[in-house]
């Protein structure tokens, strides 16, 4: 039983240590940088951006009312900007970014790529990612709606089926999308 007490104390201490270590930007870096050094040849000036997950997430200044939330928005999964890639290759394409629409799970922002009056691509710049659950649902919404072959491109509008279990995020997506479409007209 004495060992069990030691183990429990150890668990508490090491959990605290890990969290504190990760919370402090400066100290934890070298240890973590070592294994991921191969990721990019150029050493980043700002260490935060050298880690694989926290890559180039555009963070436009938001008019979101819940400013207190932004404290946690640096959490592991920031929206992956890489999803927006391919369609930009079209020479006459233009992109339109919708407004940030907040719901109780987080913020949603949609960007569409338009050629003429055709929507050729849609991407989510922001989706709620604060818990594993909302992360998962955002992924579902994203994969159904976004992309060059997603529902947005298919329907050419904001009349999208709601993703079951992700009503709020689906709704916010549609509103940001509709606003973006309105801007193109």
């Amino acid at each position: 039983m004495r060992r069990a007490l030691l183990a429990i104390t150890g668990l508490a201490a090491s959990t605290t240590a890990l969290v504190v270590f990760k919370a402090a930007p400066g100290t934890g870096q070298p240890a973590q940088e070592a294994p991921t050094a191969a990721e990019g040849p150029a050493p980043a000036a700002r260490p935060e951006e050298a880690t694989p997950r926290a890559s180039t997430s555009p963070k436009p200044t938001r008019s979101a009312p819940r400013a207190s939330r932004s404290a946690s928005s640096g959490a592991p999964k920031t929206p992956a900007a890489s999803r927006t890639g391919p369609a930009a290759a079209q020479p006459t394409a233009s992109t339109v970014v919708g407004p940030v629409v907040s719901n109780e799970f987080g913020d949603v922002q949609v960007r569409i790529t338009v050629v003429g009056d055709q929507i050729v691509n849609a991407a989510a710049l922001q989706l709620p990612r604060r818990t594993a659950q909302s992360d998962q649902r955002s992924d579902q919404v994203d994969s159904r709606y976004s992309g060059a072959v997603g529902m947005v491109v298919e329907r050419q509008g904001a009349d999208l089926d709601t993703v079951s279990g992700a009503t709020a995020t689906s709704d916010s997506y549609r509103r940001s999308l509709q606003a973006a479409i309105d801007q193109t007209r």
Binding site: M1, R3, A4, L5, A7, I8, L11, A12, T15, T16, L18, V19, F21, K22, A23, A24, P25, G26, G28, Q29, Q32, P35, T36, P47, E48, T51, P52, R53, A54, R66, R69, A71, S72, G74, A75, P76, E104, F105, R130, T131, A132, Q133, D135, Q136, G165
Partner: protein
């Protein structure tokens, strides 16, 4: 003291040799096994622990944990990963995988299981509490509201809450004080429910675990861990016993009364010469006869391995052991084992002191033939009738250079009191501090002796306990 008739003498030719005849040359002592295997297991365990938290570490950019909510959630994730890993370790430790039995031994694994269990329980409760507080903070709800949302809206959370509840229940009935007043069957049944914890807790890790719900190395590795543990469990619990029992096909050959409340069961079977059994080890026995087949009990083997028979000596204390007295020859026996590290192979020195109390003599008796010469035995018994196997012990004393002291009397008699003190022990065995000491008897007495031995300067790793709590 009274001697009891021994109708079944034939399987004990070494006893009939007697004092007059020339004894056969004693077989050499069994070779020693080091602590290497055990250390490897500990290193593997710690390595796995680090590996299980690694996904979180790699997933979390430094400096991203700003604010207490994010920190709470992160701590919840860490404790969750640790709890998931420890749960698998717990099941693995109960798999009776032969390599675990060989490297660490059943008794030690049972102790580890207890210690890890307490840690696991705390980790699970911490995980649930921290995640609840963290998510409630993120989504701006009250704690109760958040718990309701989790149960209603999150996938697989109902079963996860059930798993945590079950785990708390299992933990409660395993608290020593509680367990003592509960019938064994109830404790055992709740422990079987612990497997349900594994099943109920499985899904939420993959549907909600921040590090595990995405396809990737972490998820694959975590699933692989489950598959591995399941395979180990099947191997240790099903394949190995099946192979053992098909190979040896043990049957009861005879039941011999050793004292008013102890019987010896002689078992025969095929291929006993290939049995890898060390004196001091035990099997879990299941006697396949009406009223007995559904119970499995650990009993030590009470004689060294030989190619014709196995013997276990059992003190009659309860219903089951009462039934064993009336077993008919020919009854089939299902045995799982051998297990245990209280053997001559686990010695750290060349000489040994064995301290037995009551029926605790049985595993030590089996070891005696495998220890190097020069061993000493102190045998505590309350009355002369409680001294078991005396004939054999005397014979071993004559033929293997064993010194035996029978210390008979109640706890407060001068003799027993004297051997309960460091000085008294040193008088009998002056070099006690340089010997391995094997202890077997009632838990209270064993614990008392352990303390006395430590006072007498015996180092911890020289003390071997044969008490198993299973």
């Amino acid at each position: 003291m009274t001697t009891y008739p021994r109708p079944y003498v034939s399987p004990r030719p070494d006893l009939r040799a007697g004092p007059g005849s020339h004894p056969p040359a004693p077989p050499p002592a069994v070779p020693r096994r080091g602590a290497g295997g055990r250390r490897l297991l500990i290193v593997l365990f710690l390595g796995g622990l680090v590996a299980s938290v690694l996904p979180w570490w790699l997933d979390t950019p430094a400096g991203s944990l700003t604010g207490s909510t994010a920190m709470t959630t992160a701590a919840g994730q860490i404790t969750g990963l640790v709890a998931g890993y420890l749960l698998l370790v717990q099941v693995l430790m109960m798999s009776r995988l032969p390599v675990l039995e060989r490297w660490a031994g059943g008794e030690r694994i049972a102790r580890w299981h207890r210690d890890v269990a307490a840690t696991l329980l705390v980790a699970v409760l911490a995980h649930a509490a921290l995640i609840l507080v963290g998510y409630a903070g993120l989504e701006g709800r009250s704690l109760l509201g958040q718990a309701g949302v989790m149960l209603r809206e999150y996938q697989d959370m109902v079963s996860a809450f059930a798993a945590a509840g079950l785990l708390v229940l299992v933990g409660l009935v395993s608290v020593r004080a509680v367990r003592r007043v509960l019938p064994y069957e109830l404790w055992h049944a709740t422990h079987l429910a612990a497997y349900a914890v594994l099943l109920l807790g499985f899904a939420h890790q993959f549907s909600n675990g921040s590090q595990l719900f995405r396809p990737g190395p972490a998820r694959t590795g975590w699933i692989a861990l489950y598959v591995l543990v399941a395979a180990a469990w099947l191997w240790g619990r099903l394949v190995v016993p099946l192979r053992f029992n098909l190979r040896h096909r043990l049957r009861v050959a005879d039941v011999v009364t050793e004292s008013p409340d102890a019987v010896s069961l002689y078992l025969t079977g095929s291929g006993l010469d290939r049995l890898e059994l060390l004196g001091g080890q035990f099997f879990r026995w299941r006697f396949l006869t009406r009223g007995c087949w559904w119970q499995s009990h650990p009993f030590s083997v009470s004689a060294a391995a030989n190619d014709r028979w196995l013997r276990l000596t059992v003190k009659v204390v309860g219903r089951h052991t009462q039934d064993l007295r009336n077993l008919d020859p020919g009854v089939r026996v299902w045995a799982v084992g051998p297990s245990g590290t209280c053997t001559a192979a686990h010695r750290t020195r060349e000489r040994a002191l064995l301290i037995a109390a009551g029926s605790g003599i049985t595993p030590l008796r089996a070891m005696l033939e495998e220890l190097p010469p020069g061993a000493a035995l102190i045998y505590r018994a309350r009355t002369p009738a409680d001294v078991l196997l005396q004939e054999e012990l005397d014979w071993l004393a004559r033929n293997r250079g064993l010194r035996v002291w029978y210390v008979v009397g109640s706890r407060n008699d001068p003799g027993p009191r004297q051997v309960m003190t460091p000085d008294g022990l040193r008088q009998l065995v002056p070099d006690v501090a340089r010997r391995d000491v094997y202890l077997c008897g009632p838990p209270g007495l064993v614990e008392q002796y352990r303390r006395v031995l430590r006072q007498a300067g015996v180092r911890r790793r020289q003390i071997h306990l044969a008490t198993f709590e299973l």
